[in-house]
Symmetry: C2
Subunit: 464 residues, 2 copies
Amino acid sequence: MNPHHAFLQALSNTLPTLSIKTDTESTQHWGRDWTVHFDTHCQAVIFPKTTEEVSVIVKLANEHQTPLVPSGGRTGLSAAAVATKGEVVISFDKMNQIGQFYEADRMVEVDAGVITQSLQEFAKNQGLYYAVDFASSGSSQIGGNISTNAGGIKVIRYGMTRDQILGLTVVTGKGDILTLNGGMLKNATGYDFRHLFIGAEGTLGFITKALIKLEKQPINLTAMVLGVTEFNGVVTLLAQFGQALTLTAFEFFDQLAVDKVIAAGHTKAPFESQAPFYVLLEFEAINDDVLNLAMGVFEQCAEEGLIVDGVMSQSIGQLQELWKLRESISETISAFTPYKNDISVLISHLADFISDIEHIVTANYPDFEICWFGHIGDGNLHLNILKPANLTKDEFFEKCQTVNTYVFDTVQKYQGSISAEHGVGMTKKPYLTYTRTQTEIDYMKAIKAVFDPNGIINPGKIFD
Amino acid sequence: MNPHHAFLQALSNTLPTLSIKTDTESTQHWGRDWTVHFDTHCQAVIFPKTTEEVSVIVKLANEHQTPLVPSGGRTGLSAAAVATKGEVVISFDKMNQIGQFYEADRMVEVDAGVITQSLQEFAKNQGLYYAVDFASSGSSQIGGNISTNAGGIKVIRYGMTRDQILGLTVVTGKGDILTLNGGMLKNATGYDFRHLFIGAEGTLGFITKALIKLEKQPINLTAMVLGVTEFNGVVTLLAQFGQALTLTAFEFFDQLAVDKVIAAGHTKAPFESQAPFYVLLEFEAINDDVLNLAMGVFEQCAEEGLIVDGVMSQSIGQLQELWKLRESISETISAFTPYKNDISVLISHLADFISDIEHIVTANYPDFEICWFGHIGDGNLHLNILKPANLTKDEFFEKCQTVNTYVFDTVQKYQGSISAEHGVGMTKKPYLTYTRTQTEIDYMKAIKAVFDPNGIINPGKIFD
């Protein structure tokens, strides 16, 4: 017997048109995100269509003490959108309308379930640009992006998802509907709850709509891929190019990542030389002056021996081809059962930090392959440890847990973040104190109690 | 007998070097900001030098039930930093050090009491730029800027104070020291309390330090002042110039403001023609292409009859002279005992909104002069009603209270903000429900109870 039978019955009575699925295929499909470390256990999936329906659902869930887990595009990497304790999952798949467009404000209202790529395409059709972009933008939903404050490849120029959100409609854990900030650039009328819900991973309430800032379309985006002799050089290049140009991206990856991407047939090598590290940088080549500036920095850095070799895109086709080097990494290495970390430190600490980590892993686990890549312009590194063929998945993950402690000790040493853009969910929950103090976590719990006094909303995520 | 004698005695015992002033001149000086509607009543002013001292003070204040009012540069316009009930004032004047500079991160740590202009000068000396600027930057302190999320004249390009804050050290109302976000661009580890303290007007705790993002210095800033025939034209110009250029400012003011500024001898008329409205726009003229673009838009708008006349700065001196037209307004009209409003609506609603307000005021108060100016590129208007000579100050303010209700009804009609960048403090507290719902205010009170359970920290500000 479904322990939430009475809740589901009450839902059907109150919202007779609400779609409710309880079959195993559905609960397994909607009950999980991209993380693989947890078994899904979900009693039902429900598909509201309006903010008001979400409010009714949350109020009934409070009455029946039924925990609710939000489900967006299910592309999360920290298990914030996984039901493991027989919760009821609330999917935003049917709240997927793009609403009013405010041309003079360059702003559009979207439902939480709108796919990131749909918003990008909408913006493009208006002659504008939605600036948040990452590998899963074809599946991820705006509500999930907001709940994890998603970052991606353009943060250096446009900021995080947080920076695009001019207004937010949320249903709190008590079922109250809050319409926050109304799209204004300036509004100094008390606490800005918008920013509390952004990045809260659905633990304070559910985001149902957002007012999104759009940007002007970038002009003639141009990428360079550079081979770099040592990691310090990556940081120097960031400073040099960052000083001369307004960068729209500054990514890095290592030779191992390039080898795997090429072996998987995603693209070809950028040039004949090999290098321990690569940088992909991008800028708007609005005119020849800018191109000359970029070439000048390139030549100077090459003279200084920082760059082994380099290539610059001459067309959109070449730009897209160069980006494949970076954007195919995640998909390519997924075949090697990677143990993923998503960490950040100040740029000032990057070189020392990477050196420490490489030392730790090679000293303790000489048979592990480490694949480094990341949004280095934001101090954000994806550290991926690839499973050696001779280890089982369980043996490998067990060893990685130990590596994890070393890695997070090092993150803490440099006062960094154990989760730069993937959130905490369940996978990073045991490590939260490496970045946040116990006092902060206690305040978080008290804040959750304000918005969700019965602990109905995504319980057991971020903290217990 | 000072009712807070025991508290002050305990302070002296615990922090023997702490400066405490109780003389009337000091309490009157530090006990108020720029607002004039409240009588100052303050028992003592204390001057901590470190975050740890602030923590000790707050803990003792909790023990003794002594309310504390923060005091920064005292330039606030909403009475958030005024002691009226015999509170003890905590001044940040002695916490005024500029700390570590992180070159690779373009970031600097500053104490709360650092003057905005000192930070601007520090940035300039590093070849960088602190982007928040407004009329009171020579006196205002960073802690106060953060607590009110100060805006100013460059928001259209660089955002609010909120957008410059990469890390924050705060002492909560319980006396806990929180060090938030550590300067990282990406950090998805639970609730971002930084954004809760920004704009909280010192009601949740006291900001003691901040990590501030610096920008690259702008290149060849160039201003245009344009005379505009009707308000709709201002919005059209914003769209046209905003599409062609990356604007660093887009301000507007009316003929009355220009008349007063010129009569006061601050500068001369920008050109011979007169116009009901003026726009001051600014951009980086990085090369001739950009200048030509700007001139092209100007010519097109002039042909369409939107622009009466215009002038463009050809040097830094001319740039500064044109800015005087806008920046002298506030000081100039202060001689006319203005009743100030600081409101914002979506740019999409601006023209209708202004038309409604003008209709209301001229219909009901034909003898009132209205001076309009503001950061129109952010939807932010400063509506100033000037006192007719035949009314006493009290008669005038009483009438203004009634106008206020009409104005705020109109703000509410367009779902705008009754305080765009000045905060709520005490002056806007009675009107908070025009922008925030009672449910939101109830949540605010509950959040305050989490960080300040004894109501020690700046009580009676924002809400009761």
